[in-house]
Structures are given as structure tokens and as C-alpha cells.
Amino acid sequence: MLELVDLSHTYGSYRAIDRVNLKVAQGEVVCIVGPSGCGKSTLLRSIAGLIKPTGGTVLLDGKPVAGSPENLAVVFQDYSRSLYPWMSALANVGLPLRRRGLDKKRRDAAAMAALEQVGLAGAAAKYPWEMSGGMQQRVSIARALAYQPKLLLMDEPFGSVDAQTREELEDLTLRVCAHHGMTILLITHDVDESVYVGDRVVVLSKAPGTVVGDLPVQLPGPRDQIHTRELEAFVRLRAEVGRLVRGMTPHRNTHGFGVETR
């Protein structure tokens, strides 16, 4: 449903991403990992229409996009700059639905349902500044869910919450998105997270970012924070992605994985 063709972006004379090619199928959860500053946010912002890429095209359902595409939601890394402090959680979640032509009652009901899904039904009347960071990020996710986008972009959504909340939110995302059948593009710099959450992990190189690896994640059935992370397949995949992120090429030999530096 989403296709990037030779997507490039240059800030002034600084090349942030270089000819990124990527195809994402309907309902897939794709994680993008890469070292800091490799252009992950730039990539996401190009897809979301927040910047106009200097080269290449973004195709959504085969059509090139210009501006912010419809049916797309973003969960930003910095929730404090994305939730409006002058509105309650409910109002924040319901606000984007005004565009959907729903009356106030239906909007509130939809927003409430989304807040319930993220376990914040009790905090609907709270303001963002009355909530912890994890709660705010949940509201952010609820807003995206209520909007029912076909494509959900997440930019290091769990980057600034503690480890335990992070695990909860990872599971939450997986659960509700499977439920809605959404396509997800999740950006992270955490190798572990990418393997745990993704159906596929795409690795970007150091700046200028370009795709250096695209690995399918084949892990058995409902994922679980403890058991899944213990699986041999998980550990192996994590190591492989880790090497790619660090700019090394894995190559197989009879003794398992060997590494050579590029």
C-alpha cells in the first residue's frame, strides 16, 4: 500500500536520506532502525507530507502523495509538543474527528472508546500536564487509533518512557493494531524493539540513510515480552540487525555468523 521510490532529501547541501526504496504491504508492521541522525525522522516526515522530499516519490495505494495524505496518523516522539495542553485527553483524542463529519456526541464516544483501548478511560477529563509521560504517549496513541488511519507512522514513540511502560506500550500497539488491521511504520533506534514489534525490520545506514537490510521477522504466534525475547530465532535476528546497524555485513559460514567490517 505504501511505496517509496528513490526517496531522497537534502537539507541545504546536507544529504539526509539517499534513494530509499521500500514497499510496505497492507496490514504489515514494518520497523525501521538506524543509527542516530541517519535520517529516520526525515523519512517519516517525507511520508507524512511535513516536508517535501527533494527527490523520489512516495506512493500510497499506487498514487503519488502531495501534502499530508488522508487516512494517515502519526505518533510523534515528543508527546509534549503534540498533545495540546489547553485540552483534556478526551478533547485531544476527539479533535481530529471533527474532520470526519461526526457530531460532538459521536466524536466523544469514539474518543472514549479509543481511550478505553489504551486503558485510560478514567483519565479522559485530565489535561496532558496532569499525566505522566507514559500516559501522555498513550493518549497520543489513542488519538491515532480513534482517527482509524489506514497507515500509522510512529517516530520513536516509546523513546522517552521508562522500560516497563515501554514494554506495555509495545504490546498495546501490537494488540490494537492487529485488531484494527492497520499498516504500521515504526521508527526506532532500539534493535530489540524493532525485532520484537516488527513483521519486518528495515535497516538504514549511517547518514545519508539508505536501506542496507530488509529482514523478515518470523517468530511464532502471540508475542510475549519474556518468552519471545528468549527465543533463539529472536536472539539471532537481533544480532543480525545489530550488526547491520553498526555498519557491518553479516556473512554466513559453517560455524555460524562471522563478521567483517565494511
Binding site: L50, S68, V74, Y84, W86, P96, R99
Partner: protein, 263 residues
């Protein structure tokens, strides 16, 4: 308990000053400086000895305050609406501020009281002219603060609005304006105190009603205590407006105070 006493202690200077002032004026017996007790009595007799149904205000108070406060509030409201509208335009429309900056700086530097005689020659003496003076004089703090506030809207807030495809109206009404509101309120508060000043000026220079006119009348009939009573009245009004405004601001902007406290 501690708070109560500290509250009393905080204001001890007020009764002390009043007593000293009373003693001093009684000793010197200058006609220009009547003792505060006499000012208070006259204040009460003129304006506050009315029936309870009128909040104790006398007929004379209603006749005097009514036109003044009406003009003040009307002028301030018009200036507020215009100032916010123009400020939003200047802050959001690229280039507009640059083209208009010198003209606005110049207009802002004109002392508003000097416009009173000009407007009086151009139009008739009367409420519309006085309103025009007040609006012209007090619009600037709102305009400047709105422009600043609207420019400073966090980029993150706007990007969220873009991603979720808010309508232009929603972006303005639910993102830009609320975000700029703390600054806008600061401007409105300053404007309110300026409006009081300009109300008095316009009534002193040419008017046949209102507090300024009544003050001039007291002066011309050598009623010095009356003159003092008017000055006290204007001070009280200034305090009152400020206090009311702060209460309103506290309600509207509770999110702002709290959001700031928490980070």
C-alpha cells in the same frame, strides 16, 4: 493563622499612611489637601449612599459612571477584537508584517491624547469620537502581543494539526489562538489600564458626561475634596478592573499556569 497575620502585616502601611495623612492635612489645613476622612465622606455621599437595589450607588454615580464605563468597555472590546484579528493576520501571513512594520511603528508612537482634538475637528464631539480615540490608543498592546504569540506557536502543535488534516478554521481556533492566548491576555490587561486613562483624557478634553467631565466640573467649582474623591475613584476603578481581569485570566488560562508549573 500565620497566613492571616502575615496578610495583616503586609498591609500595615496602608492604615499608617492614612493616619499620617489625616494628621498632616489637619495640621496644615491647606484647602488643596483635604484630610482623607473628608474625601471618604464626600466619596460616600456622592456615590455610595444609594439604595441597596442599586448596589448602594447613587443616581449621580449611575449617571456619571455609566457613560464612562460604557465607553471604556466598548472601546476596549473593539480594540481587543480588532487587535487580535490584525495580530493574527500579521503573525500568520508571511511578509505582511514586514511591509506594514514602519507604518505600525509610527502609528504606535503617536500619543493617543493628541488625536482627541484632531478627531474632534474631523467628527463631532461625542461618544463615537471618544471610542475612536480609545480604540486607537489601546489596540497596540493587543496587536503586538497577538502577533508575537501567534508567531511563537510550537512547530510540533502545527505539525500535528497538519497530519490530522485540521481545517484552517480549526487550526486557527483550536491550535493557534489557544496557544497564543497567554500573550494575548497580557496585552489585553495592559490595554484595559490604558483604556481607563484614555477614557479620562477624552472626557477631560471634550465631553459633557462621565467621570472626567464630573472631575473637571468639581475643579471648576473649586470643590477640592471632590477633585480628590474623583482621583480616588479612578484609582479604585483601576485596581478593580485589574483584579477582575486577573480572575478571568486565571479561569481561562488555568491550563497555562499548570502546564508551566509541571515542567
Amino acid at each position: 493563622m500565620r497566613r492571616a497575620t502575615s496578610g495583616v502585616l503586609r498591609f500595615w502601611i496602608v492604615p499608617v499612611t492614612l493616619v499620617l495623612w489625616e494628621l498632616l492635612t489637619r495640621v496644615t489645613e491647606s484647602p488643596y489637601f483635604p484630610p482623607p476622612s473628608r474625601i471618604a465622606t464626600q466619596f460616600y455621599d456622592m456615590w455610595l449612599s444609594g439604595p441597596a437595589s442599586q448596589l448602594l450607588l447613587t443616581e449621580s454615580a449611575l449617571d456619571t459612571f455609566g457613560p464612562s464605563l460604557g465607553r471604556l468597555l466598548a472601546g476596549w472590546t473593539i480594540a481587543g477584537v480588532l487587535g487580535i484579528a490584525l495580530g493574527v493576520a500579521l503573525g500568520r501571513i508571511r511578509g505582511l508584517a514586514e511591509y506594514t512594520d514602519p507604518v505600525l511603528q509610527f502609528l504606535r508612537a503617536l500619543p493617543p491624547p493628541l488625536l482627541v482634538p484632531i478627531f474632534f475637528v474631523l467628527f463631532k464631539i461625542g461618544t463615537p469620537t471618544q471610542l475612536a480615540v480609545i480604540v486607537f490608543g489601546v489596540i497596540w498592546p493587543v496587536l503586538v502581543n497577538t502577533t508575537d504569540g501567534v508567531r511563537a506557536v510550537d512547530k510540533g502543535f502545527l505539525e500535528t494539526a497538519r497530519v490530522f488534516q485540521f481545517s484552517r478554521y480549526d487550526i486557527l481556533r483550536r491550535v493557534i489562538l489557544p496557544s497564543a492566548m497567554p500573550k494575548i491576555f497580557a496585552g489585553l490587561r495592559l490595554s484595559l489600564s490604558l483604556a481607563l486613562i484614555l477614557m479620562v483624557v477624552s472626557e477631560l478634553v471634550g465631553s459633557n458626561s462621565g467621570i472626567g467631565y464630573s472631575l473637571l466640573y468639581a475643579q471648576q467649582s473649586y470643590d477640592y475634596t471632590g477633585v480628590w474623591a474623583h482621583i480616588v475613584l479612578l484609582g479604585v476603578l483601576g485596581l478593580l478592573f485589574n483584579a477582575l481581569f486577573l480572575v478571568a485570566e486565571g479561569r481561562v488560562l488555568s491550563w497555562h499556569a499548570n502546564a508551566r508549573r509541571n515542567v
